[in-house]
Structure formats: C-alpha cells, structure tokens
C-alpha cells in the first residue's frame, strides 16, 4: 500500500511536518513551550532530565534528544538550552544537522533570560515553519512506515481482540517491507523464552534475554520480584492460566513476525522489519523512546481506555472493549470489539487496523491530536539524580 508522507533529506519519510522545539534540559522547558505556543506548526518537547545525573544517563539524554530531532516527523528543529546543563547540546545539534535537517540553538543564559530567548526563538521557529509549509505530501510506499507498538490500561479484551488484531496489521506491514518496534521489557517477563524463539537467530535471542534479565535485576535491586505471584489470583479468575499466557496476550501485538535485532532505548534501528527496544512500560518514557528510535506512527491498544498521545508522532488508540469505545469517544480512534461479539474475525479487524495506520500516516488526525492530549513525554533514565 501507499500513503502520503513527507520526504526528508536523509531519505526517511514523515507522517507529520512539524517544527520541533526541543528543550535540552528540564530547566529550559518553560521557554520551549512558550516558543512553540506562539508559532503555528511548531510543537514543544519537554522532559525532566539533562542535568545532575550520572554520565551514562546524560549520554542517554543526549542520544535520545538527537534521535527525537532526527525523527522524520520534524521538518526542522530549534534546540532550547539553558547554557550550563549536562546534556551535550552541540552533539545533539550536530547529529540532527548530519541528517540534513535545519537546526538552531537558543540558550537562555546567553540571550539574557526567558523573555529575550523566547522572542529570538519565536522568530527562528516562524522562519522554519514557513519553510516546512513548502514541503508537500507525496505518495510513499508503506515500507517507509516505522510503527511503534504499545499497550496500556489493558483488560481481557486486549489479549483477545486489540493486540492480536494489531498483530495481523504488523504482519502485513512487515511483509510489505515496513518496520515496527516492540518495547515494554516488563511485559515480556514470563514469555521471554517464547519471544526468544521468534528472534531471527541465537544472537538476537541472547540480546533479548539479557535485556529482560537486566530489567529484572533493576527491579530486584529495589527488593521487588516481578515474576512472583504471576498470574495474579485476579488473572486466574479471569481465565489466565499461566504467566506465559498473560505475557503472550501483550506480545500478540507482533503476531508471528520475526524479531530482527535488539536495541538500547531510543537507538535508531539499522535494519528493516520488527525490532525489540529496551524500554519500560510507562507511557511517557515508552512513547519518547519510540519517537527517538524514529517511529513515525504509534499504535496503542487499550482495554480500559488510555488517553496518552505524543507531541509529534500520531498515536492511534485501538480498543477491543465496546464499553470503553462508547464511553471514551474523545480518546479512542478505532474499535475491534466486533471480535469480542463474535461478529468480526481477527483477520478482518487486523485489516481495519492496517487501513487506519495508512490513513493516519497520510494525515488523518488521531483523537489525541485533535484533543491536544499529547503531553506524554519524558526520557527514560536508570540511574539516580544527584
């Protein structure tokens, strides 16, 4: 299939065409938001990181911001810096510039405060927005789509309808040469040996298992065992028999697709097809990680109704729960509850998910976009703040 997207100088294709105003440190968020608020076509990315952290985490923040800036949904990038942060701002700018994208920096301490920085930033962003508006949508093959996958506020319908339907869509997209990113290491615990069998080879399987092991150790260091007592008595009452079955309900998002490689958080995949990325399950960090890895669209399945969206990557909400579909109309984009009623097959539901992906990629807005519910963002760090 084809969709209408925006060509970028590095050969990537965007599904949106924003000027990204990226705060490089928690202390610059206010200015980034003020600038984006005054320029049509500009969106701000703010977060809680970038200073007083361990070197590995600062490196991660630098890496994630670089990835976000390179995301093909951004036509140009304005970095808003404080001036004394731990983030390597010059490195972020270089990385974005290397992919052929216009990038500029404004620094609050250099300009002399928020008001002057905002004024300068607005003028820069306006010029970028005018230039971006000249870029037309053109026909692109579905192989240019990089789909982020997520489930949240799950219920029984997630594992039976929404996730397997998304799995059908992912199978089709990957067959057509497209890409998808699965994250949420915590969701995999219990079925990691099964997911390992879906990996391309032993090396990829080993990488996947070591990510799961690392996540488990991190949690264990806090004195918590994530594996114990799973599935819960409530799960068992609901019909889930084993921990494998519970985890497989979440992993059903990929269908039978083979995992080609495993990446660290926010790293851009070097291969096409399905990859696995280190990330927690929590929405702000997960959605940000997907965007930093280059996802130009995200599909988010939900049972009870998760509202989160992201500033510059559309997030399609799919539910298999009819009650949620009717009650949460301002947040849900697509319902596959026909699968639960027995009125629609998973194959049919999966095709509708696929069609929704193509339509949204071509410019149809998601509920999260039209309602402005797009602030689920932060960079995943693993060390302490100091």
């Amino acid at each position: 299939m084809k969709f209408l997207g925006y060509h970028r100088p590095d050969g990537r294709v965007g599904t949106r065409n924003y000027v990204g105003v990226l705060s490089t440190v928690v202390c610059a968020n206010e200015v980034a938001r003020a600038i984006a608020g005054q320029v049509k076509g500009a969106v701000a990315f703010s977060h809680q990181q970038g200073c007083c952290q361990t070197p590995p985490d600062l490196e991660r923040v630098t890496q994630a911001l670089s990835g976000l800036g390179r995301n093909p949904n951004l036509a140009a990038v304005l970095l808003v810096s404080l001036g004394c942060e731990g983030t390597d701002v010059a490195q972020v700018a270089k990385s974005i510039s290397d992919c052929g994208k216009p990038v500029q920096i404004v620094a609050i301490q250099e300009e002399g405060g928020a008001a002057k920085t905002t004024a300068k930033g607005v003028l820069v962003a306006q010029q970028m927005a005018v230039a971006a508006s000249r870029i037309p949508r053109v026909e692109c093959p579905s192989s240019e789509l990089v789909l982020g996958l997520k489930c949240g506020s799950s219920d029984t319908t997630s594992g039976l309808a929404a996730n397997p339907a998304l799995g059908v869509a992912v199978e089709r997209l990957v067959e057509e040469g497209g890409s998808a990113i699965l994250g949420e290491v915590t969701e995999v615990i219990g079925a990691e040996h099964l997911l390992a069998r879906q990996c391309k080879d032993e090396n990829v399987a080993r990488d996947l298992l070591s990510l799961v092991e690392r996540m488990e150790q991190r949690v264990k260091a806090m004195g918590v065992d994530m594996r114990g007592g799973q599935p819960t008595p409530g799960n068992i009452k609901g019909g889930l028999t084993t921990i494998e079955e519970k985890s497989l309900g979440a992993i059903a998002k990929i269908g039978g697709t083979v995992i080609q490689a495993v990446y660290e958080y926010g790293h851009r995949p070097e291969v096409k097809g399905l990859v696995f990325m280190d990330s927690p399950g929590r929405e702000p960090e997960l959605l940000t990680g997907m965007a930093a890895a280059g996802a130009n669209l995200i599909v988010f399945t939900t049972g009870r109704g998760a509202p989160q969206g992201f500033p510059f990557v559309p997030v399609i909400k799919v539910t298999g729960n009819e009650v949620t579909w009717k009650k949460m109309q301002d947040h849900m984009d697509l319902s596959v509850h026909g699968v639960m009623d027995g009125e629609e097959s998973l194959t049919q539901a999966g095709q509708r998910v696929y069609e929704s992906i193509i339509e949204t990629a071509s410019g149809v807005e998601t509920k999260a976009e039209v309602s402005g519910y797009v602030q689920a963002m932060d960079i995943y760090v693993t060390g302490p703040v100091i």
């Binding site: 799973q230 799960n235 068992i236 028999t241 494998e244 059903a252 039978g256 009125e343 194959t347």
Partner: protein, 96 residues
C-alpha cells in the same frame, strides 16, 4: 452466526470464550473466517479456555500459536482448560 469463543491462531488447540457458555451447549468457535462447533462439558466463563480436541496428559497447550503450558491430565474436546488441568513450564500462577 454469533461466535461463543475464538481461536487466536489456527494451530491453537484451545479457544477462549467471549461470553459465558452454559454446560452442554454446542459452542460456535471462530477460527479465522470460519467457525467450528464444539460441545462444552461444564459451564465456561467469559475469558476462560476450552479444548478444541482431545489433548493427552503431558501434551502442550497452544494459544497465540505458542506453548502456554502443558496438560497434567487427559482433556476432552469442549472441556474447561485451566489451572486444574494445565501447568506452566515456568511455575504455575496459583502455586508460585
């Protein structure tokens, strides 16, 4: 016809009930675009699993096209498949 249970992948040997199915009912089980009928032994609640075939003691239970556990006794077609006749190969939820 309205389905009572669905099979996620063709190779699965269990289906999941999408409504409460009373004992003795000939349940309509959706497999892709087709459906098959299986008579259920006892009441099966929404979200619970039923066997599609005769599953022998020790045989793998397949859902999502993948092994979710192993039978701990012979299971008849249409029988409730749960913690009383299935164990995980990685520790059972109600025993962990």
């Amino acid at each position: 016809m309205r389905r009572d249970a669905i099979v996620i992948k063709r190779q699965d040997n269990v289906a999941t009930a999408i409504r409460d199915i009373p004992a003795g009912k000939k349940a309509e089980v959706g497999v892709g675009e087709q459906s098959v009928s299986v008579t259920v032994g006892k009441d099966i609640s929404f979200g619970h699993k039923l066997s599609l075939h005769h599953i022998r003691n020790g045989e793998e239970i397949i859902k999502y096209g993948t092994v979710i556990g192993r039978a701990t006794q012979d299971i008849q077609p249409g029988e409730h498949v749960h913690v009383h006749n299935v164990e995980s190969t990685r520790g059972r939820g109600d025993l962990a």
